[in-house]
């Protein structure tokens, strides 16, 4: 059963009582809220996700609500809690859905050290994973969304989860968060893409979320193997530049982008060296999405591992 099979009133009822239980790529999440902003966002962007298993196990309990009664009325705010713990300061109520997305990323990055967690987008084609690490503003989410529009499978636009046992990549597909100009670029780039409401004035500017393709959600139990680690860099009016980088540099840059590298110790080192060793390392600077995608397609079609 998927979320889309529930009526809006049933979704609202569950969110307002014991929690709406969703199964997100193997994580059982329960969500409680009384805020309509979040209800609308979830109904639209999480429509294709399965409802949580009925065995009573929940990995993470998330509550998003006004911090106090007064904050419902005057300059309303919203607060994110996981298992009763509040990791952030409250945000204006209009940012409820964005806060849920950021909060859930925080939850996974801070509690799932069975994985090496790389701050990167990750897409897949033919079982081969393309890891796109990037500092904010490098354009990783935009490139990721564009690749997904061209039929690549979305594993995540925010974090690559690499199993420390198998060194394989576990998908965690979620709505793709896009900022400012990227929102319009992707709305015009893909056919039939669905976007949630644009949320203005966040710490990152305007933010909107693109619904992940159903095929990516349905395949979220299928792992991918690391094949290429590409560091994107969007540079307006530049020519495409797609250059190999050494295994050593690839490894060091992966470690820099690994949220939980300090926690993992030597196991994290072994995992990331393994990934760097099996992957093509490239730096990619581009101004046109089509050029970047063509170069990546060529890398994935031409070269056999």
């Amino acid at each position: 059963m998927k979320l889309s099979s529930l009526s809006t009133s049933e979704i609202r009822r569950r969110l307002g009582s014991n929690g709406l239980r969703l199964s997100l790529a193997g994580f059982e999440i329960s969500i409680c809220t009384s805020l309509p902003q979040l209800t609308d966002g979830l109904s639209l962007l999480y429509a294709d996700y399965p409802l949580g298993a009925e065995d009573g196990f929940t990995d993470f309990q998330i509550t998003i609500d006004a911090p106090s009664l007064s904050r419902r009325l005057i300059r309303p705010q919203v607060n994110f809690a996981c298992n009763g713990f509040f990791p952030f300061k409250p945000l204006p109520i209009g940012q409820a859905f964005a806060m849920f997305e950021w909060g859930l990323n925080w939850v996974i990055a801070n509690h799932c050290h069975q994985f090496a967690i790389i701050h990167s987008a990750i897409v897949e084609k033919g079982g081969k994973g393309l890891i796109l690490p990037g500092t904010p503003g490098s354009g990783k989410s935009t490139l990721c969304a564009a690749l997904v529009c061209k039929g690549w499978r979305l594993l995540s636009d925010e974090m690559t989860l690499i199993s420390l046992k198998t060194n394989e990549i576990h998908p965690f597909p979620r709505p793709i968060g896009l900022k400012n100009n990227s929102i319009e670029i992707i709305q015009n780039f893909g056919d039939g893409v669905v976007f949630g409401a644009t949320i203005g004035d966040t710490a990152k500017g305007n933010v909107a979320h693109m619904r992940p393709p159903r095929t990516s959600i349905d395949a979220s139990q299928i792992t991918a193997s690391p094949f290429a680690v590409v560091f994107p860099h969007y540079q307006p009016n530049s020519k495409l530049n797609f250059e190999p980088i050494s295994k050593g540099e690839t490894m060091m840059k992966l470690a820099e982008n690994c949220f939980n590298y300090p926690v993992l110790g030597v196991d994290g080192f072994h995992c990331l060296t393994n990934v760097a060793d099996r992957s093509f390392g490239r730096s990619l600077s581009y101004s046109k999405l089509d050029d970047a995608i063509a170069a990546l397609d060529k890398l994935f079609c031409d070269v056999q591992p």
Binding site: E28, T58, Q61, H111, H113, P262
Partner: protein, 363 residues
């Protein structure tokens, strides 16, 4: 206590039985409460140790694997931090005692396995505290931003420096010179703690408290610091220390006598009571009685304090919004009590009034 104990309590009392009997929904509740109480890594360690039949549910395993990694990285960090503190204080010949979680890890005690902590606590002799502070600041441990009132509060009335944070590593360090503030009604003699301190042996000038003193310090901390969020974790520490060291009657006698010597019979009695109630720790009746008599705890007020302590420690077992008014009140009273125990009224009332009036501004 509720008729059916919380799954986390069942697990802590008897991990082996719990592993065989808990349902998936129980495990979910257990993990959630253990996270809130900073106990998940401890639970994960106990589960790994006691899961003989390999019967932990699949869905539970990743949480425990993750929690064990967190504990392992904390262990590395704490030992490294102790090395760095030693490197800083050794050249100027200042000895230090590692307290609480850091000490359990340093001494390789069972209580240290899976013990989470947010900062390292050390004690230096009061005569050296200014030199120690200067040396630590020169080596990268910086005091956080405090206004002049808070600075003065710490320096005049408290038993520790304002918390220090290492600029590069981001670690926190609390430097104490005794285990209770000079204003507190109970006045343990800190030189007696130094006399019995044990050296782990690898580094000159690094010490831990003697086992009995560790138990007494943990009990004191639990009941005088007002940090009941860590209450259950502190009880788990005490339970583990008692299990490791109380192998014979002699230890119980030593412990209760030591408590009397140090003027800490009251916290020891409350620790005994709470360990029995929550964890069913095996504590001989005559030890409980000895601490009760020495602490002069025979009135009805004692029962009220035990009730308040158990309700506030038990608060982590229920989720925030489900906490009853009684629990919140109990937590508040314990907070007030912890201050009252630390300060006489003529200091406490102006302090709390100021904190209340300026709460928002200073936050």
């Amino acid at each position: 206590m509720t008729p059916k104990p919380h799954p986390l309590i069942l697990f802590l009392r008897n991990p082996r039985t719990a592993i065989e009997s808990l349902s998936l929904s129980d495990w979910s509740q257990l993990i959630c409460a253990a996270r809130r109480g900073h106990l998940l890594s401890r639970v994960a360690h106990l589960a790994r140790f006691h899961d003989r039949q390999n019967s932990l549910p699949e869905k539970v395993r990743p949480h425990f694997e993750s929690a064990l990694r967190v504990a392992e990285s904390q262990r590395r960090n704490v030992l490294w931090e102790i090395t760095e503190i030693h490197r800083t204080l050794k050249p100027i010949n200042i000895p230090f005692i590692v307290l609480k979680g850091g000490a359990y890890i340093l001494m390789d005690y069972e209580a240290g396995v899976g013990r989470l902590m947010s900062d390292v606590d050390i004690m230096v002799p009061q005569a050296y505290i200014t030199d120690a502070e200067r040396a630590l600041i020169e080596n990268g441990w910086f005091p956080g931003k405090l206004n002049s009132y808070d600075q003065r509060y710490y320096r005049t009335w408290m038993h520790e420096l304002p918390p220090l944070h290492h600029l590069k590593r981001g670690t926190s360090l609390d430097v104490h010179h005794t285990i209770l503030p000079p204003t507190a009604a109970l006045k343990p003699d800190v030189t007696q703690l130094w006399d019995k301190a044990q050296a782990p042996g690898t580094k000159d000038g690094v010490f831990a408290l003697a086992p009995a003193d560790m138990i007494l310090h943990s009990a004191t901390h639990l009941f005088h610091d007002g940090e009941v969020e860590h209450g259950l974790r502190d009880l788990v520490d005490i339970d583990s220390l008692l299990t490791q060291f109380a192998k014979d009657d002699k230890f119980w006698t030593q412990l209760t006598q030591r408590a009397a010597e140090l003027d800490l019979s009251r916290p020891l009695y409350y620790a005994f009571k709470c360990c029995r109630i929550f964890l069913e720790t095996a504590i001989p009746d005559n030890a409980v009685q000895a601490s009760k008599t020495a602490g002069n705890l025979n009135g009805a007020a004692t029962r009220v304090v035990v009730y308040l302590l158990t309700s506030s420690i038990g608060a982590i077992l229920t989720k925030g919004k489900h906490q009853t008014l009684a629990t919140s009140l109990a937590k508040f009273l314990i907070f007030v009590r912890s201050h009252y125990l630390r300060m006489p009224m003529y200091l406490l009332i102006p302090h709390l009034t100021r904190k209340m009036l300026f709460a928002n501004k200073e936050r």
